[in-house]
Amino acid sequence: MSAAATAPTATSSTSAASRGILLMLLLPGLVALVITFLLPLIWLLRASFTSSTMSAFGGGDLTTQSYSTVLFDPFYWRVTWNTLVLGFNVAIFAVVLSYPIALFLARTESRFRGVLTALAVAPLLTSSVVRTYGWMVILGDRGVINSTLQSLSVTSGVIKLTNNSFGATVALIEILMPYAILAMLSGFGRLNAQLEEAAAMLGANRFKVFTRIILPLSLPGVLTAALLVFVLAISSFVTPRLMGGGRVFVLGTEVFNEATVTLNWPLAAALSVMLLVLFSSIILLYQRALRALEA
């Protein structure tokens, strides 16, 4: 590693010595990534084709048993459907609620811009478990909203805001909003005040400036944010599990359940593969949409 600092930048015909150094540089990181990323994906695929009655490593015959469970059991249809609905709802609301904040941060000339940006993404610094807990406190049966409504005598009974998919959706929206804001902020590069001024000079009022300039220019950022939130939402399980109180069934919670409670690892693996397929198709769709936007 000693000679690394001065190694020539653009030589493909590296000497044997520097090839040895290169190998030493690459080895530790690559080994770590292979063990923690590449192997897991391969093992996952293999395990999803083993029999659920055997250990996932018992060798044995390959079977598509887990996949037929995932694909033909109506329960898993519902789980997949729930997952998609949760993903779409969370993505749409998180994006709609984040958009004004991102727009504000991108356009403000306030001295406090840095602080406000930090404040908007600061929640990323807190564990999602902690923020889920915050929402349990807010939406719980004896939580902030219910006790406030009761003390104002708006309702006498408890409004069920947790232990259902509503609670899970609300909490996920808030938990994923910082990601949406960050994605939008980095996607808003083409927005600038002069374009808005130019449009105004050409006769566009506030509304027209928004629909004809700001919105189209920010659309790629919005799309990226939506994708990111959707993908994070459909693969989440901590928040749906805690906010749903075991009554919300999505792919994430089922994967966790099969992996750690039922210990049906082949099924957990098949469900994960299912999630991965869903995930990849969404990314493909996103790339299509982005290309359509560019054209």
Partner: protein, 355 residues
């Protein structure tokens, strides 16, 4: 003046939190079809004036009149002015044609007419056939033309240009200078452009308004500004020159330190302290005796510049710069003593010295 197309009346702008006004009681006016240059060093308030005229920011006080009518309360998008921004501000998500037709769409101009006018605008700026290009597919100069077309196609009351040439390289800049001047003349649009480059202002504008630190110093034709600067600032900002302080002893004669007597053309009361300026290229090597305004000195430094020879001549405690034509026969050498003279009409009164 009162019937001028555009009248700027005592315009003041103090930005929130600023101690001093960025634009301080500025007044000027333009007849229809004139091109006026707002010239001054960076930070003197040129852009601020332009943005107030455009309606992008509100004046602290003062009025902006178009054909006698105060437009200060009219929203920016209803003012019908064109603006060419320094970085062009073309909409990156639209083709060039869509950029140009944007203003027409906002005015609900019908499709057929829009296409026709966009085509004509493209022709006007020599971008014929490039309407379908994306913004990124045009060169800097072409983007500049597109931006001009976009602001002219709406047939604006007034065209505003903020440092329109500063983003171009030197060669293109000369080309676009003539081009912009030509387009403005052909369309007959009243135009104000901002620049900090004196050459640009002198060569493009019908008249120049020279600004310094938020105040208007002088307004006039290029010739008036160059030959008859009224303040020391204008004199030193535009072209080179040596300024002397002195005291008026007779009509048109001042006693000046280092040069003794200096004859000038201009009115200044007897006994008053004055500042007088001499441009280097107005100095002559003395040939025949008996001329006024003669000074002798030692040549300290010579720079040969091809067309001219620049001499630094020490007269008393001052260094006097003189630009002499190189075809003037015998040229002086370093260390030699020369006698220079200047015609009284080339000695400009640039201000009174405040005692």
């Amino acid at each position: 003046m009162a019937d001028h197309h555009v009248i700027i009346d005592n315009l003041v702008k103090t930005y929130p939190g600023a101690q001093k006004p960025s634009v301080d009681h500025v007044s000027f006016s333009l007849p229809r079809g004139e091109m006026l240059a707002l010239l001054g060093p960076s930070g003197c308030g040129k852009t601020t004036i332009l943005r107030m005229i455009a309606g992008l920011i509100a004046p602290t006080s003062g009025a902006i009149r178009l054909d006698g009518e105060d437009v200060s309360s009219i929203a920016v998008y209803k003012r019908n002015m064109g603006m060419v921004f320094q970085a062009y501000a073309l909409f990156p998500h639209m083709t060039i044609a869509r950029n140009i037709s944007f203003g027409l769409e906002m005015r609900k101009v019908g499709r057929a007419e829009r296409e026709e006018r966009v085509r004509k605008a493209l022709d006007l700026v020599k971008l014929t056939g490039l309407g379908d290009r994306k913004v990124s597919q045009l060169s800097g100069g072409q983007q500049q033309r597109a931006a001009i077309a976009r602001s002219l196609v709406i047939e604006p009351e007034l065209l505003l240009l903020d440092e329109p040439l500063s983003n171009l390289d030197a060669k293109l800049r000369d080309e676009m200078r003539d081009e912009i001047r030509d387009i403005q003349a052909r369309t007959g649009v009243t135009a104000i452009f901002v620049t900090h480059d004196q050459d640009e202002a002198l060569s493009m504008a019908d008249r120049l308004a020279v600004m310094s630190a938020g105040r208007l110093e002088q307004i006039g034709t290029p010739r008036e500004i160059f030959d008859r600067p009224q303040t020391e600032f204008v004199a030193s900002f535009i072209g080179a020159g040596t300024v002397f302080e002195g005291k008026v002893t007779e009509h048109g004669l001042a006693m000046v330190e280092d040069l003794k007597e200096l004859r000038f053309v201009g009115d200044a009361p007897l006994g008053s302290p004055v500042k007088l300026m001499i441009r280097p290229h107005r100095l002559r090597l003395l040939t025949d005796a008996g001329q006024p305004n003669r000074f002798s000195g030692t040549v300290e430094h010579i720079v040969y510049r091809g067309q001219t020879l620049t001499l630094n001549v020490r007269c008393g405690s001052r260094l006097l710069q003189a630009d002499l034509p190189t075809h003037a026969g015998m040229l002086p050498e370093r260390g030699s003593t020369v006698t220079l003279s200047v015609a009284p009409e080339d000695v400009t009164l640039v201000g009174q010295v405040s005692p």
